[in-house]
């Protein structure tokens, strides 16, 4: 989780360095590396592909042998009110957390273009939610809200937990976008008499828009997958990962693989769109 958002930002702009003469000091070892990489990718993908296979297994137990092809577990997932409720909760809190975190992060990143006293301290403050271990990020909110008399629910505690978690990544993704672009346009607009708000809405924001959209999508995906902070403050409102966890812990429910596949598809889909916008962002505003 943690540096994934940063990672998403990073891979979007592969270094376009091409040596004139391709030098391969490891030419001889390269084939061995490829074989190793093959094993590595198998390690990464094998278990996930197996879950996809198991989601179609016509068997009451999560496991083998493969008893035949069925889509009934997907029907179970889509017909379960509890699961649909959890899905709705996750989508809702994901959209709202992404919107709040992206807005706050954009404002913070605009502020970080200035020189001001205590800049490193503010940066540490922004990083607090990712420095603190995830499990403690959930527990502190449990006791804090517990003693404040605020009941755990989706739109209070869970939303706060998710914004906390997503905000540092949103900032780390947005900040390079705002830090890197040519300020000549802004200066020109200012010379022509534009007000700061006009400069923001008509120049700055349009330039960084793909970056903002990408940040929002990554934020959504981080929130959608969040579990460890949510479990402590979810109360009766379960999100998808919390619901999933409940089904594992109670009894290894047979629809788990189908549900896992559904979650994987939603997360990867939103991340891929975010990745696409990030690439556009790095093209339109080269750093």
């Amino acid at each position: 989780m943690t540096s994934i958002a940063a990672g998403k930002a990073n891979i979007a702009k592969p270094h376009a360095r091409k040596p004139e003469r391709r030098h391969r000091p490891y030419g001889g070892y390269l084939s061995a590396l490829w074989i190793y990489a093959g094993a590595f990718y198998t390690f990464l993908y094998g278990p996930l592909l197996m879950i996809v296979l198991l989601s179609f297994n016509d068997s009451e137990i999560v496991g083998f042998p493969f008893q035949g092809f069925t889509v009934r577990w997907y029907e179970v997932v889509f017909e379960s009110p509890a699961l649909l409720k959890a899905l709705g909760n996750s989508l809702g809190v994901g959209f709202l957390a992404a919107a709040i975190a992206t807005t706050l992060a954009l404002s913070l990143a605009m502020g970080f273009r200035h020189q001001f006293r205590g800049k490193p301290i503010v940066l540490y403050l922004i990083l607090v939610p990712i420095i603190i271990p995830g499990i403690i990020g959930g527990i502190v909110l449990l006791i804090f809200f517990g003693f404040s008399g605020i009941r755990s629910s989706l739109w209070t505690t869970v939303l706060v937990a998710h914004v906390n978690w997503v905000l540092p990544f949103a900032f780390l993704t947005l900040f390079p976008r705002l830090h890197g672009f040519d300020r000549a346009l802004e200066e020109a607009a200012m010379d022509l008499g534009a007000k700061p708000w006009e400069i923001f809405t008509r120049i700055v924001f349009p330039i960084i828009r793909p970056g903002v959209i990408a940040t929002a999508l990554f934020s959504f995906s981080l929130s959608f997958d969040e579990f460890i902070r949510t479990i402590f403050v979810s109360g009766f409102d379960r999100t998808i990962p919390v619901q999933f966890w409940g089904l594992i812990v109670d009894e290894l429910a047979p629809e788990l693989p189908a549900m896992a596949v559904l979650i994987i598809v939603i997360s990867i889909f939103s991340s891929l769109i975010g990745f696409y916008f990030m690439r556009r962002a790095s093209k339109s505003a080269p750093t």
Binding site: P19, L104, L123, V163
Partner: protein, 310 residues
């Protein structure tokens, strides 16, 4: 920062506020731009943490948690053999996990950094895809592999190697290692890859031209220059492993539980919030000390951006 050189723009306008690098002052007031985010983080980030620190000196009884000022909780954290052993075991697992991920990630990161164009884009993306899904799922997938009805038992039985399913594949420390490595490898691969990417190929060429053999080039040029990435990856994986909860809970069984599970049980089962706070603060302290020590080599913000710009 892209500074606008004064000679490019006629310096006749009066509205423009100059700052010392010669560019214009960025729009907006820092106070109002930073205000909302800082306020959020103070209220929901820092204050709850401070409250937990305070509560770690309180006392929990069956009637609830009440304000107090006693070091009893911390004494219990340090003195009780159960918690001390659990802490050392967790540190051991985190260190081992970090070591394993370095070894298995480095070659792949190296290969990725050698690739070019579309091939590189494809394999880098392929590396990321699995990590864009919840770690709960990525830990869960090992249950139907290692379990009694799992893929391994099934394959071994089908091959006639075993008659009865074997039980010791799951719910032990080995399964926890496997799960943690699987869940957190990317946090090692990514920073190492990024630091290898930054190495100027001319340096490698120069070393080769000067007669260094591949092993020497690797040991004396590539390895030292990828150090920031390795360090960043190690910190990330260590921090994530030391606070693991999901993986040990699902795959570890009673013998494989870690500090995170001990902490969680104080809140989910025992309702001993004060003592749980003391355990939590201990873990936070370890994390902060580690970041403080490593800040000699790498800034905290660079740890979370994969060792870039360090």
């Amino acid at each position: 920062m892209t500074a606008v050189t004064p000679d490019r723009v006629p310096a006749t306008t009066s509205r423009r506020k100059k700052v010392k690098d010669g560019g214009i002052k960025p729009i907006g007031k820092p106070f109002w731009l930073l205000g909302p985010g800082v306020l959020w983080l103070l209220i929901f980030g820092l204050a709850p943490l401070a409250f937990m620190l305070m509560m770690s000196f309180w006392t929990s009884t069956i009637y609830g948690t009440r304000p107090d000022f006693s070091f009893d909780n911390y004494a219990r954290v340090l003195v009780t053999e159960l918690y001390r052993d659990q802490l050392f075991k967790t540190l051991r697992i985190a260190i081992m996990t970090t070591a394993i991920t370095v070894v298995i990630s480095y070659p792949v990161a190296y290969l990725l950094s050698r690739l070019q164009g579309m091939q590189k884009a494809f394999f880098v993306l392929l590396m990321f895809l699995p990590f864009w899904t919840s770690y709960v799922i990525r830990a869960f997938v090992w249950l139907p592999i290692l379990g009694r009805n799992g893929a391994i038992n099934n394959a071994l039985q089908a091959l006639g190697i075993i008659d009865q399913p074997i039980d010791w594949l799951l719910f032990n420390e080995g399964a926890v290692f496997l799960g943690l490595v699987y869940v957190y490898t990317l946090f090692m691969t990514l920073p190492i890859y990024l630091s290898l990417e930054k190495i100027d190929p001319a340096l490698v060429e120069a070393a080769t031209d000067l007669g260094a053999r591949p092993a020497a080039v690797f040991r004396r040029v590539i390895l030292p220059l990828s150090w920031p990435g390795v360090l960043s990856g190690c910190i990330m994986v260590f921090l994530l492993s030391i606070s693991a909860f999901v993986t040990p809970q699902l795959l570890g069984g009673p013998s494989g539980i870690m500090y995170g599970n001990v902490i969680a049980s104080q809140f989910l089962a025992n309702n001993n919030w004060a003592f749980g706070s003391a355990l939590s603060i201990s873990l936070v302290t370890i994390v902060l000390v580690l970041l403080l020590i490593s800040s000699r080599w790498i800034g905290v913000q660079h740890v979370f951006t994969g060792g870039r710009n360090s």
